[in-house]
């Protein structure tokens, strides 16, 4: 048995049907779903349609929670998970990290800011403090003192499952011994208005796989698993609840919201998860379906199940009527259901189902019943055709995920949409009027290369990524590639589109919705549109981890190449300036007198070094992620770097100095320490004076570092710190 196999040792769950594993399971066994009429905020147009809303007052000071509503849900789940794993994190903090899925982050709280702004014309910036999707990981990892890899993944409804898959990958690859992983999302006007605009909400409550199904029901919640390397769990005598032995991801590369009719991507992700676990389809004893209750999703998923399992589709159910669709939390909530099903040897029921749909021809489990369960599968699919599948197994089952050692990857090309003009950007009313000097990309050169449908439907941010990617690959690398993975990081994502959508929703009291703005507002929209443009059907990920969003994307893409899940990968990052960011950013001190707001998109085309004839500008030998603490310890950072690469040869150190003033002394101390520790010369270079200050600016630094390696034949390191405590290191060599 492979000792680095990921195992589950703790569970935490908070959702509408109950708090804690026992309460949730008891409700499920009793067939008591969590759907109740919406009470969290008024809906002038749609009224109190049923949702999975948490009734407890999350603002109760006795809960000792801070952050947004989503952050509070994450915290409740994390506390339960740590307690149930009997885990003393202080013994493991160097090797423990955190990885959550989030789709809306602090949107529910930020909406109050926008409402006050629009109705009373005054700025109350406080509720936006926790807007970013990485807020929960940032707050909780700091509270727990974790120093291992931290990341937030925002791939809409598959975020939670992809977060668990990525955490498993981190354990398997030796990046961490322990990961707190899962997802959290609160209800928000954004998603409420968005799914209504898409006419995807069933006003009577969702009925997954039922003949009369007519849409989804929204929900909210948080679920977190303690994942450990088996050797770590055994060494500390932990109780192993289940194994996470298989995970797979794919992209339909088909449409912004609609699934591929035959469930092409769903099938690919299920096959990928089975291959990783070394299992055949026939070994699956239960399947927790994505099963949202929309007409198209359930039909496409059923077709994918038929394609994979033939006439032997295992017992399956959707728990979306039970929880409501809690978006980024869903994959994690359903992982808890799968693990409890294994532990109790019981099949969970598909609430809301009464009559079989002849077009589907499959009947889910309708009442809880006993079964012999060894391996179970959980499906999660999201906007952008973004699919993630997990396989959980009984602790005694012989399952060992395929191993893949670290190896360098080749940078084949880098595409940059960078600062064109040093222009002045005006903040438009109703946000406080004023001019901010900025380093922006100006009008996008090359937009003429896009099709009319891309020009009219893709926001500027998405166009930036598509154009950067087209500049990263050589002409012979054509689209339509099932073995091409995409990972595009972003700090603020499509904040501009989200803001416009919400302003319209609030001002017009939900009348005249903007259906195309909603799918354009999710953080993974740029990655999804890039996948459609290139026909990329491999992993499609959108990490959003503040200043290290690019490095997270690079890490994800590298692992896809190393594990053989993909043959080529596009890794990049994008952020744009818009009126919301400019006004809020000024309040939060994102910029000061010496720095200017910037924006840009960078995409790197990556391949395996072993392919001899392919171009190689530079080799990426390692990407490391982690957290740092204050007081800042430069010697510790130098040791961390030495564990990733040989510092003895010297080279060039690229840092984000010249951005956040408080980080400049840290960068300088590390540059100084490197020279002293390694006994060789490390030249310190910076890049923010060229690209401006923005969340994913380190992607611009990466482009500079690659060019340095190519032109000067020297080693280079890209070292990035975030005011939120995240850090990343990327090592490059000729």
């Amino acid at each position: 048995m492979a000792s680095r196999s990921p195992v589950v040792t703790g569970l935490g769950i908070v959702a509408a049907p109950g708090h804690g594993v026992e309460a949730v399971w008891t409700a499920l066994a009793g067939g008591a779903g969590g759907l109740k009429p919406l009470g969290l905020f008024p809906s002038p147009r749609h009224g109190p349609v049923p949702v999975g809303e948490i009734q407890e007052d999350l603002n109760d000071p006795a809960l000792h929670l801070r952050g947004s509503r989503s952050d509070r849900l994450a915290w409740l789940a994390v506390r339960q998970a740590i307690a149930s794993a009997s885990l003393s994190l202080s013994d493991h903090r160097d090797r423990a990290g955190m990885l959550l899925g989030s789709s809306v982050g602090g949107s529910y709280d930020s909406e109050r800011f926008l409402e006050i702004l629009l109705k009373r014309r005054c700025m109350r910036a406080l509720p936006t403090r926790y807007h970013e999707c990485n807020s929960a990981v940032s707050l909780i990892a700091a509270n727990l003192g974790l120093l291992g890899p931290c990341m937030t993944i925002a791939t809409a409804c598959s975020s939670g499952a992809l977060a668990l898959a990525t955490a498993a990958e981190m354990i398997q690859s030796g990046e961490a011994d322990i990961m707190l992983a899962g997802g959290a999302d609160s209800l928000s006007r954004m998603t409420w208005g968005g799914f209504h605009a898409l006419l995807l909400v069933d006003a009577e409550g969702c009925r997954p796989f039922d003949a009369q199904r007519n849409g989804m029901s929204l929900g909210e919640g948080g679920a977190v698993l303690v994942l450990e390397a088996e050797e770590t769990a055994r060494a500390r005598g932990a109780n192993i609840l289940a194994r996470l032995g298989g995970w797979g991801a794919s992209c339909d590369a088909h449409h912004a919201t609609a699934p591929h009719r035959e469930g092409r991507g769903a099938l690919a992700a299920m096959r990928s998860a089975l291959a990783r676990a070394g299992l055949e389809p026939g070994a699956m004893d239960y399947l927790n379906a994505h099963g949202t209750g929309t007409r198209d999703n359930d039909l496409a998923e059923a077709r994918a199940l038929r394609s994979l399992f033939g006439e032997r589709v295992p017992p399956f159910s959707s728990t979306k009527h039970f929880f409501g669709h809690a978006l980024a939390a869903s994959g994690a909530l359903e992982a808890v259901i799968c693990i409890e099903a294994l532990r109790r040897q019981l099949l969970p029921p598909n609430l809301g189902f009464t009559s079989m749909d002849p077009a589907i021809g499959l009947e889910p489990v309708t009442a809880m019943r006993s079964a012999s369960l060894t391996h179970v599968m959980s499906n999660s699919f999201g906007f952008g055709g973004n699919n993630a599948v997990l396989i959980f197994s009984h602790p005694d089952a012989a399952v060992a995920p395929r191993e893949a050692p670290h190896m360098p990857v080749a940078v084949r090309g880098v595409g940059v949409i960078g600062p064109g003009t040093r222009g002045l950007k005006e903040i438009e009313p109703p946000l406080p009027a004023g001019e901010v000097a900025s380093v922006d990309c100006g009008p996008l050169a090359g937009a003429g290369e896009l099709t009319m449908n891309q020009r009219r439907r893709l926001s500027r941010l998405m166009q930036m990524v598509v154009l950067a990617a087209r500049r990263s690959v050589t002409a012979d690398a054509t689209g339509g590639d099932p073995r091409l993975a995409v990972a595009i990081g972003t700090g603020m994502g499509c904040l501009g589109d989200a803001g416009i959508f919400l302003e319209n929703l609030i001002e017009k009291e939900e009348r005249e919705p903007m259906p195309s703005r909603f799918p354009a507002s999710v953080h993974n929209a740029p990655a999804a549109q890039l996948a459609i443009d290139r026909g990329a059907q491999g992993l499609n990920a959108a990490p959003t981890t503040a200043d290290i969003s690019f490095e997270c994307a690079l890490w994800l893409a590298m692992r896809q190449l190393v594990t053989g899940e993909a043959d080529q990968a596009l890794a990049g990052a994008v952020d744009e300036l818009n009126k919301y960011l400019l006004s809020i950013g000024q309040r939060w001190g994102f910029w000061n007198e010496t720095t200017q707001p910037g924006e840009g998109a960078v995409v790197a085309a990556l391949g395996r070094v072993s392919e001899k004839d392919a171009p190689c500008l530079a080799r990426v030998s390692a990407v490391r992620l982690g957290r740092f603490e204050r007081p800042f310890d430069a010697a510790r950072e130098a040791r961390w770097m030495a564990s990733a690469t040989d510092l003895g040869e010297g080279g060039v150190l690229y840092t984000g100095a010249g951005g956040w003033p408080e980080l400049d002394p840290c960068y300088a101390a590390v540059a100084d320490m490197l020279g002293r520790k390694s006994g060789s010369s490390w030249e310190h270079r910076t890049y923010k004076s060229m690209c401006g200050e923005y969340h994913s600016a380190s992607s611009f630094g990466f482009a500079q570092a690659v060019e340095c390696v190519r032109a000067e034949r020297r080693r280079a390191m890209l070292y990035t710190l975030s005011p939120r405590g995240f850090k990343a290191l990327c090592c490059l060599q000729p």
Partner: protein, 85 residues
């Protein structure tokens, strides 16, 4: 009430941000979706929003809207029928 198809086409162009196309370039009978103008399901939802904004017609279910969105002519007829009832 008779709907001007030229005005309807102008509304469609504005709604779907297809400024590169002139109203006269859209054939009354040509399919809007698939091979015709190449519109997709999200464009259909934008047209649903347009019906509400410009014609005060509320479509609650795409099953209801689908037959109306075949072409400019079917859409004009749908609006006339809804306005008459």
């Amino acid at each position: 009430m008779v709907i001007s198809t030229r005005e309807l086409k102008a509304n469609i162009i504005a709604t779907l941000r297809m400024e590169e196309i002139e109203p006269d370039q859209i054939d009354d009978e040509a399919p809007l979706f698939g091979e015709g103008l190449g519109l997709d399901s999200i464009d259909a939802l934008e047209l649903v929003a347009m019906l509400e904004k410009d014609y005060a017609i509320i479509v609650k279910d795409m099953e209801e809207g689908r037959p109306a969105f075949q072409s400019v002519r079917t859409l004009a007829e749908f609006i006339e029928r809804k306005k008459a009832s």
